[in-house]
């Protein structure tokens, strides 16, 4: 029923049909089209770097879940990016355990060194910072994710070294 003009721009996004094929494979692994939504969104994010409205429309069409529902899911999870972020995304936990173990000093360090606070991207486009609620690594606090890599027991001694490994 919807005849939005962006349908054609969403098509243009997936020119080679890469996402279409990926989702086709994923669909076979799940019982319902709805259950394929999360992996499909991860695939789209991996492909495009972030989830634009066009990307959401595309995932919606390929999974059969309506655009509004996909948007609901995308905005719920902090691991989905709804705006373009830097080359590397730092997900820093500042929940109780991490906070006690010094996450606030790490946040301060990142702010000073790269000029970024929550949701911001450094001027050179290298890092973005996302402040997370618990990432489930309280026993190794303070903890953070950089892209898909986990880093535990971070301190002012090793943070520079960690950051340097991401160019």
């Amino acid at each position: 029923m919807e005849t939005s003009t962006s349908q054609s721009t969403a098509d243009a996004l997936d020119k080679g049909g890469i996402l279409k094929n990926k989702i086709k494979v994923l669909k076979k692994m799940y019982p319902h089209t709805r259950s394929v939504l999360l992996p499909a969104l991860h695939a789209a994010q991996q492909l495009y770097g972030w989830l634009s409205e066009d990307a959401i429309e595309q995932v919606s069409r390929l999974t059969g879940v309506t655009t509004a529902d996909v948007k609901g899911v995308v905005t719920f999870y902090s691991l989905f990016k709804t705006k373009p972020l830097g080359r590397h995304v730092i997900y820093l936990c500042t929940n109780v355990a991490c906070l006690i173990m010094g996450a606030d000093t790490l946040e301060e360090y990142l702010g000073k060194t790269y000029g970024i606070s929550h949701g911001e991207t450094s001027a050179d486009g290298r890092f973005s910072l996302v402040i997370m609620e618990c990432i489930g690594a309280c026993d190794k606090a303070p903890a953070m994710l950089v892209n898909d890599d986990c880093h535990f027991n971070i301190s002012m001694d090793n943070i520079q070294q960690i950051m340097e490994s991401y160019r």
């Binding site: 029923m1 005849t3 054609s8």
Partner: protein, 865 residues
């Protein structure tokens, strides 16, 4: 059954009931905010907390199932404290802007805060802010007021099946939003605002115009937009409509409405309403008094009758008008003037389809309870998108699908797109091949029951399509085979037939094939009806060949009350198309058009206009000036949907009350005006109100003879209205071209390629009334031509291009939209807007077997401007 005690009272209830149901059953009210009967329990608002003996913590009554011997308390100090705490939490962020909130006075949160307290919060931080969104033309969102009960999103998903809104964000930054931040771009059914307990989702139509306590009068009536016959309520202050709204759980719609029913009613208060009768003097329509107008009509009718015999007079009945209106028109024509020339636009598809199906299966084959669709385990639809033609019926198909029913759609799935099991969307003109394959497949799977030998003989005569013919349909054979498998295993199947099935190819064959599917799987049949009272007008005898009640026209006497008899004229009546032809060749001199716009609603506009302008007398009774009134000699202002009493018969054969609400117009009830004319022409009967007309109907019509007026009140009166069903289905019928299958045409390789122009079945528009509704126009303001991306690519066209669409009948300039759902080889245009409309660009022929309308001259070429 389970027995439990609630507040010391014994309660007995089903095993699957919740404590909330059990309490309601014995009259104990438990406060709720997120609970809606009919939707899945959510347990989100925590207002229904109750105490169960032996259970440590308070439980939610809406999600907890009953158990034998349970002891439940719903009002204790602890519970009240918990409820107060819950409200305090909700009020942390709720803005308490009740003085400027339209919901104040009927707000659940307000009511419960008043009852449980929590007027003072202990939360010192500021409230969250989120700007009110008034960028949508119909729905206003104020998400600061939202309490996240998710009634709206559950309604939108579970009940409506649209999934157009969703909770976005997380924690206290959760807001209910559509995909695009501003406009909803959804089906605009408005069911989300029906259920919103607070003022978070509100109608923009009467924003800040009223307070709920302004409502002085509330009338229960039936919606006047399509054949479903949804129950709706008109709320009035003085003589004006404040708003219309459904009530959850009531009527055939159980409280759901579609965009037309929910928002489209404002046409009745449009400035363009006719205010006075008019007579054409020297080519110009001039206002006159009622007396003068009626005197002119009766005199001219008398003259024509004497000069040319009664058969020179005809009438077109209205699917928008009540049974009483249509009966009176029929009486005027048949019993007073003495002419069987009466028909309506039901002739285009609904009436022929009904007659044909009843001929095969017997009377009443198409009279089925609409609620049974939801309970069905499999639905086959053909001939148009039910979610656009009869939206609330379409919603029931979606609902059935969600409960596990198999849904098989032949043709464009439209609004059922996400609710089908297989894609049987065939290339235009090849649908017949798909249907043919399904019938043969089902006959093999199910075998023959022998109940209808005529039908079975015809099924056996069908030819199995060969491989190239199957390929030409564009539908995968495996899809057809899986559809056959599914259809053959159904226990409570339903077949839904739309009008498009009769407008292309060989209508009798198409309809026979779908009837054969229904026969083989033993399905209930539903005929989609674009207008609210097509079924009623047929029952009222507004067809040339049957009298009220459906008996065939047999010349002779018909008994009316108190020994009065009426004469059924002997002369064969003319149908709609014959009347147009008759006007052209001079055999028809006068036409009485009741609430219909034939110039606009029939293809081949030039022909209809020529025909109508050749008449000696054209009377048009309508609420607006239309394309047809341009040719009228007399125009009479009619009463609109909300301004008259009467009865309507829905597509399933249920009779319901249409009740008078507003009375602002100068229009008069149609039947009164017609009765006045009839009396001047010799009718003796007088009627005080529409009930007396109905009583006469029960005297004349065999079908309605056993019905009681009061029965209509209690949820409607269902076919066969207490009468003895007359049998049918024992006779043979004609099918054209049983062994013929559509020709395979060479694929058109390059531009300029001819495309087939097809009519759009729009959810938003249903013809002449919706284009007078500001609300509907605000969401669907302009015509556009839909095209498939593949065809658009071939022709080098893109979205929003301005194109000239040209057919043998004319050409129009229109904006192009690329729509994935549009079948290849076709372009789709609506017939709603004056500027560009489908009917102005096409011609028609009349099918010799069914007498329905088949589109011609609809090969179109596009030219980019």
């Amino acid at each position: 059954m389970v027995k439990l005690t609630i507040n010391g009272q014994e309660a007995e209830t089903g095993r699957d009931s919740t404590i909330l149901d059990a309490a309601n059953g014995i009259g104990i009210k438990i406060p709720t905010l997120c609970h809606i009967k009919g939707l899945e329990p959510y347990g989100g608002c925590r207002m229904c907390l109750i105490e169960i003996e032996g259970v440590a913590r308070l439980q939610t009554a809406c999600t907890t199932k009953v158990n034998n011997g349970m002891v439940v308390f719903t009002e204790t100090e602890e519970i009240n404290k918990a409820r107060k705490a819950m409200l305090e939490f909700l009020l942390i962020n709720h803005p308490l802007d009740c003085p400027v909130c339209d919901k104040a006075g009927e707000c659940l949160l307000q009511d419960q805060a008043a009852r449980f307290g929590a007027s003072e919060g202990r939360f010192a931080e500021g409230k969250r802010t989120h700007p009110e969104n008034i960028n949508d033309s119909i729905i206003v969102r104020n998400m600061e007021r939202c309490i996240l009960c998710t009634r709206c999103t559950r309604m939108c998903g579970e009940a409506q099946g649209a999934y157009a809104i969703s909770v976005t964000g997380r924690g206290q930054h959760s807001f209910v939003e559509p995909f695009s931040h501003d406009k909803y771009n959804c089906e605009y059914c408005g069911n989300c605002l029906t259920v919103c307990p607070v003022g978070a989702i509100m109608s923009r139509l009467h924003r800040h115009n009223y307070r709920p306590w302004y409502v002085e009068k509330e009338i229960e009536t039936v919606c006047g937009f399509c054949g479903v016959g949804c129950t709706t309520f008109i709320q009035m202050r003085a003589a004006t409509i404040i708003r219309t709204l459904p009530k959850l759980g009531t009527g055939v719609n159980k409280g759901l409405l579609c965009v037309r029913g929910r928002f489209g009613y404002d046409y009745v208060e449009s400035e363009g309403r006719l205010k006075t009768p008019m007579i054409r003097v020297n080519g110009v329509l001039e206002p006159v008094s009622w007396e003068k107008a009626l005197a002119y009509i009766t005199k001219t009718l008398k003259d024509i009758k004497t000069k040319h015999t009664p058969k020179a007079i005809g009438a077109i009945a209205s699917g928008m008008c009540s049974n009483e209106d249509n009966y009176m028109l029929q009486k005027l024509m048949r019993f007073v003037i003495g002419s069987n020339n009466i028909d309506s636009t039901a002739r285009l598809a609904y009436a022929p389809a009904k007659t044909y199906i009843e001929r095969i299966f017997g009377a009443g084959a198409t009279a089925n309870v609409i609620a049974d669709i939801e309970k069905s385990d499999g639905i086959f639809t053909a001939g148009g998108d039910p979610t656009a033609i009869n939206p609330v019926l379409g919603v029931q198909i979606r609902s059935a699908w969600r409960h596990g029913a198999k849904v098989v759609v032949s043709g464009q799935p439209g609004g059922l797109g996400n609710f089908i099991n297989y894609d049987l969307n065939s290339v235009p003109q090849h649908e017949e091949t798909v249907l043919n394959t399904l019938v043969i497949g089902l006959a093999e799977m199910k075998g023959y029951s022998g109940k209808n030998p005529f039908l079975e003989r015809k099924i056996k005569a069908l030819r199995l399509p060969c491989e190239p013919e199957l390929r030409a349909t564009g539908v995968l054979l495996e899809n057809m085979e899986e559809a056959i498998d599914d259809l053959s295993g159904l226990k409570r199947p339903v077949v839904v037939i739309g009008p498009s099935l009769l407008h292309a190819g060989i209508p009798s064959k198409n309809l026979f094939l779908v009837a054969a599917i229904a026969y083989l799987i033993d399905a209930k049949i539903y005929l989609l009806s674009k207008k609210p009272n097509y079924r009623g007008l047929i029952d009222m005898g507004c067809v040339p060949d049957t009298i009220p009640g459906g008996l065939p026209v047999r010349p002779g006497q018909l008994k009316l009350k108190k020994g009065v008899t009426m004469t059924v004229p002997a002369e064969k009546g003319m149908g709609l198309f014959e009347m147009i032809d008759g006007a052209l060749d001079g055999s028809l001199k006068a036409l009485y058009v009741l609430g219909e716009n034939p110039v606009f609603n029939l293809p081949d506009r030039d022909k209809t206009e020529k025909a109508l302008s050749a008449l000696d007398l054209l009377v048009v009774q309508d609420i607006f000036m239309t394309e047809t009134t341009r040719h009228a000699h007399v125009v009479l202002p009619a009463a609109a949907w909300s301004e008259k009493d009467g009865t309507m018969t829905n597509l399933g054969g249920r009779i319901q009350f249409l009740r008078k609400g507003s009375a602002v117009s100068a229009g008069k009830s149609e039947w009164r005006v017609i009765a006045d004319i009839a009396r001047t022409l010799g009718m003796n009967e007088t009627y005080a109100d529409s009930k007396e007309v109905w009583e006469e109907i029960t005297q004349v019509s065999v079908l309605h003879s056993a019905s009681e007026y009061d029965e209509i009140k209690d949820g409607g009166l269902m076919w066969p209205y207490g009468s003895v069903q007359f049998q049918g289905g024992a006779e043979d019928f004609i099918v054209e071209g049983l062994e013929i299958l559509p020709e395979i045409k060479e694929a058109c390789a390059a531009a300029p390629c001819k495309l087939l122009l097809l009519p759009e079945r729009s959810l938003f528009h249903s013809g002449s009334t919706t284009r007078k509704s500001k609300a509907i126009l605000s969401v669907s303001p302009e015509p556009y031509l839909s095209i498939n991306p593949v065809d658009a690519g071939k022709l080098g066209l893109s979205n929003d291009d301005t194109v000239r669409v040209k057919t043998a009948k004319g050409s129009s300039v229109v904006t192009l939209k690329i729509v994935r759902d549009c079948p290849e080889g076709a372009v789709i245009l609506s017939n709603t807007f004056e500027k560009v409309s489908f009917n102005a660009l096409t011609g028609y022929t009349v099918d010799p077997v069914l007498g329905c309308m088949v589109f011609t001259d609809n090969e179109a070429s596009l030219e980019k401007l």
